[in-house]
Symmetry: C2
Subunit: 118 residues, 2 copies
């Protein structure tokens, strides 16, 4: 685990600088959990559908994505638990919408990133 070269003066300095770039230990599980939400096609599609102030029922989402209602419900739960979407009940239906502008921005940045690839 401990390497010889890491005892060199120059190396020690780099290490110090790098360690300064690190956030608090608890930050990383939280941050990775957050990004994991975007790491699934189905969830990204749901987020995509709900952009621009769109509010949709569960069955409409499953209709648009041609996926089972159950699969959508499970993913909506993940999004709900992470405050990515909010729900409003109207009669028998549950309407979902994005609860945070940040989310739309991050989605957009990711999209730009993969589109501008060489």
């Amino acid at each position: 685990m401990e390497n010889k070269n890491c005892t060199h003066k120059e190396h020690k300095d780099m290490k110090k600088k790098a360690l300064g770039n690190l956030a608090a230990e608890e930050t990383y599980p939280l941050l990775s959990e957050f990004f994991k939400i975007f790491g699934d096609s189905t969830r990204l599609k749901i987020i995509s559908l709900l952009r621009h102030n769109t509010s949709l029922s569960v069955c409409c989402i499953s209709d648009c994505l041609k996926m089972e209602q159950s699969a959508i419900s499970h993913q909506l739960k993940v999004l709900r638990n992470n405050q990515i979407v909010k729900v409003e009940r109207k009669g028998k239906q549950n309407f979902y919408s994005l609860s945070d502008l940040h989310v739309e921005l991050i989605y957009q940045m990711g999209l730009e990133h993969i589109l501008e690839e060489d």
Copy 2:
């Protein structure tokens, strides 16, 4: 799969609007793969260490993170394959650095998001 309520006029309109928000089908696997990279604590820590133009050897990274060299190497491979980091060999050592400013921005946005939570 197909729901009764989705045949209503109002519902059809919403569906049409929502479908307009969707990107091309091929986009989502690419986008989710990209975000998946950020969905792991170890990779986030590596990215974190390499911020602000920091260039580090593998052993230095494993040293900083107190993790096995092998685990770090495997994750660096993922980051390399996705053009998140670039390598430069200096003698026996491989120095890694971030290869894309975009990555640092996205990391930063995620960080701000989880920090500004209520």
